[in-house]
Symmetry: C2
Subunit: 491 residues, 2 copies
């Protein structure tokens, strides 16, 4: 059966494949071009909603499976809760509804009948999940509850952008219940670390982790921990959050249990999520003028095999290419053979570079004779002539090295674009110029200072570094600083 990825969309003719706006010329345009040309996603007739195409969804499946395994290894189980939240339920936690109501899509009719109570399409599921937890939790023996859900959510967005912000998106949302404040905090931080390892080690995207300021935390949370990445244009992207909800939701939804002293007490809850936004983060971190660069651990194809035409192609080269594919597959490498007759090898090289496949294996008549393949790295174009006897071992090593090098390169970029600012003038200069992260002391005055930065520079406080003591006065007002904060213009 035909392979669907490259056959499903020929919207752009062959000549178009190279026509991606250069990254340096227009980063936003470059991003959209790459997403569409690599067939990660496309526009739809539904405003603000995209379709995630098979190649993009393949990245999501690999990302999801890796995270899912980590969550299961730490005792979490999956479940599925309703898409709908009755309006009255959404209103139970005051800050929560205030934060989410403006972006809720409302169902008002079922079939031909108007509903008595409007139904919100979940923008997040605290309100429905906690109402069930209040039924399920009775005793300390029932705790902890460690449930995760893979689902779609809807937030009515005015400005949308592929993967980064769409009206509907896919995510996982974990919702846990604990007997003590310490247990809830431990869970919140355990998840933060699982996210960090997923994003840095699997997606090769470096992050800064820290606390959100009061003004930026999740609606209804006690504390929100965040992971912030820095994109190629010097703008920050929040790539995951883990919330310690304290007793706010257990009080709003009456989640109580009998503790070991047989007293009825309120539970402590957490919630946490990452979304398909991770795909956007990966594209913007690693992509270049030729297109995508996918980290091997989540690439749908880790190796693409391009057979080179020549004499006795059908009898020698093609069988050798197939056998190479099978050898790689047996070794657990996701390999794809591009044996289309209508395209030249050169066209295929461009095509698969555009799609970011980490490693290319060329095999032609001469290689068959020498019992070798030519391996070419996507990231640095390094070529290696490798004997077929050792090709799987060498390919495995090269893929590991690409994974490490992508992270290394991205980390170097973040380090080079993380600055300190001596005073507010230099702060503004950086935000006017190269942007990036600014690490600086902050007095903690939300209403005045945080707003002033945003108005002056459109930067925001991305996070507070939990384990760092400020040295010197607030970068904005000079008053005594309470935190070391990371500032950036953000997506």
């Amino acid at each position: 059966m035909a392979d669907n990825i490259e056959q499903s969309n020929k919207e752009q003719a062959e000549g178009d494949v190279g026509e991606i706006t250069p990254k340096s010329e227009d980063f936003s345009r470059w991003y959209i071009d790459v997403v569409r040309r690599a067939e990660l996603a496309d526009y739809t007739p539904v405003k603000g909603c995209m379709v995630i195409r098979p190649y993009g969804y393949g990245i999501w499946e690999n990302t999801r499976d890796r995270l899912d395994a980590q969550l299961k290894a730490t005792g979490h189980q999956n479940a599925y809760f309703p898409l709908f939240i009755p309006e009255g339920h959404l209103q139970r936690e005051a800050e929560h509804v205030e934060g989410f109501a403006p972006e809720v899509a409302w169902v008002t009719h079922g079939g031909n009948n108007e509903l008595e109570e409007r139904l919100a399409i979940r923008p997040t599921s605290e309100a429905i999940i906690n109402s069930l937890y209040s039924k399920w939790v009775r005793s300390w023996r029932d705790l902890p509850i460690l449930i995760n859900q893979w689902a779609n959510v809807v937030r009515w967005e005015k400005v949308t952008r592929f993967f980064l912000r769409t009206t509907e998106f896919l995510w996982q949302e974990g919702h846990t219940v604990h007997a003590t404040e310490e247990d809830a905090e431990e869970e919140t931080l355990r998840i933060l670390e699982i996210y960090r390892s997923l994003i840095e080690e699997d997606l090769a995207v470096p992050v800064i982790t820290g606390l959100k300021s009061e003004g930026e935390k999740f609606a209804g949370a006690l504390r929100t921990y965040t992971l912030e990445a820095l994109m190629g244009d010097g703008r920050a992207l929040q790539v995951g959050t883990s919330h310690n909800l304290g007793q706010n939701f257990s009080k709003a939804f009456n989640i109580r249990f009998e503790d070991k002293n047989q007293e009825l007490v309120y539970a402590w809850t957490t919630s946490w999520g990452v979304t398909t936004r991770l795909i956007g983060a990966m594209v913007m971190t690693h992509g270049d003028d030729q297109g995508l660069q996918l980290p091997p651990r989540v690439a749908p194809y880790q190796v693409v095999i391009v057979p080179i035409p020549g004499k006795q192609f059908e009898e020698t080269v093609l069988p050798a290419a197939r056998s190479l594919r099978d050898m790689l597959a047996t070794a657990g490498i996701r390999a794809h053979l591009d044996d289309r007759e209508e395209h030249t090898p050169g066209w295929k090289y461009n095509e698969w570079e555009l799609r970011g496949v980490p490693l290319r294996a060329e095999i032609g008549p001469r290689d068959v004779k020498k019992e070798q393949a030519v391996l070419v790295r996507r990231d640095n174009r390094e070529k290696a002539f490798v004997s077929l006897e050792t090709v799987t071992e060498v390919a495995t090593e090269i893929l590991e090295s690409i994974q490490a090098d992508l992270f290394e390169r991205a980390s170097t970029f973040v380090a080079a674009n993380t600055r300190t600012a001596a005073d507010y003038d230099s702060f503004k200069e950086i935000m006017d110029g190269p942007r990036g992260f600014i690490e600086a002391p902050w007095c903690g005055d939300e209403a005045n200072e945080a707003q002033r930065i945003q108005e002056d520079t459109s930067a925001t406080i991305r996070c507070l570094l939990a384990d760092r003591k400020p040295d010197g006065g607030c970068v904005i007002c000079g008053k005594p600083a309470k935190h070391v904060a990371i500032f950036a213009k953000a997506y």
Copy 2:
């Protein structure tokens, strides 16, 4: 970290565990009791919507993963399309909108604003997916498109029942595009066979496959193939459908391509789906008065290990039980150790029988001395004393035997409840009495005859046996028969 399944819900006290309404007394009540007590699902504050709890979702994950692997092995890829369908798009295929409009949930407001065009929440995704295919398909080289989506859908139902019929449910929906009528028909039948093998071989639920009559086919299809199972109460359950959509949707959504003769022609499309209803089918097929019986291939836990208290429990029995769990896990068996201290072994036996774990392993002080475990089958209570040296091999064999025996028993039941009817009087007698499937010749007169059966007996035509020639006159009217039909009362 604690295991979440048995800790998440203690709604029922220990004494309640055995209190399931006997199957013979009230099949419907028995079904609800089993679903709730085994913690497969629960009611929610959202009318018609259920929550799939971790134990139920674990079954769905195993079912999904097995089907997903089959679909990928036959060249299909996953993607994700929007939840919303603009009203105008839903109306493009006339029969389709007529079939689905009465059960659509409508979004009319986003945030505080009324929408210009109402958005349907997908009841099925032909209307949105085919509108994208019309953009993506240009040439015969783009075909076939073989895309599947795992998603939630919403159909506004008046009467709901756990898993069998809920307002929101989970499913997969495949949507394919082909160059020729033959290719589309071949795909429709390939999927039907993949479904048959999933349902019969993995879920151990026997099915009859056939064509839907004109009156029962999918709204907008050329032909609908169906899989029909027979539940323990003699009622049929449609467990999957595969539709050859002909050119109906390609014409409605303008999916055209340049064929090899460079002529612009309409494509041929298919769609097909199975849902979380499969879990309900499995419960009703295999369950008994003690509760669930899960086929090993999809059971979240295939073996539960119950350690028996005694002298030096912590030093001897518990380590042996842990080592047994690790041995089984290493052999690829999903094993769970129930080491809770607050419950007796007898309570645990009942609990895990209720939850349908196919095989129990008991290990106590005497077993530790003899270096053995006691294996007890859920289906027939057969006990085997097995040396720890061979326990993984023996457990693997027993699990395979349980899988086969569950299917065998269910097949025997279906055979015993599939009858022929000599005339309409005996037809009505069967439907009044034991119900089950009736296989009988039918004249094909939809308007008169099919309706008459439904009014007289509330039975419907479940399917037409494609490869069977009728022998004798129509069971209803005696006129010449065109088909051999399967009749039943259905869920």
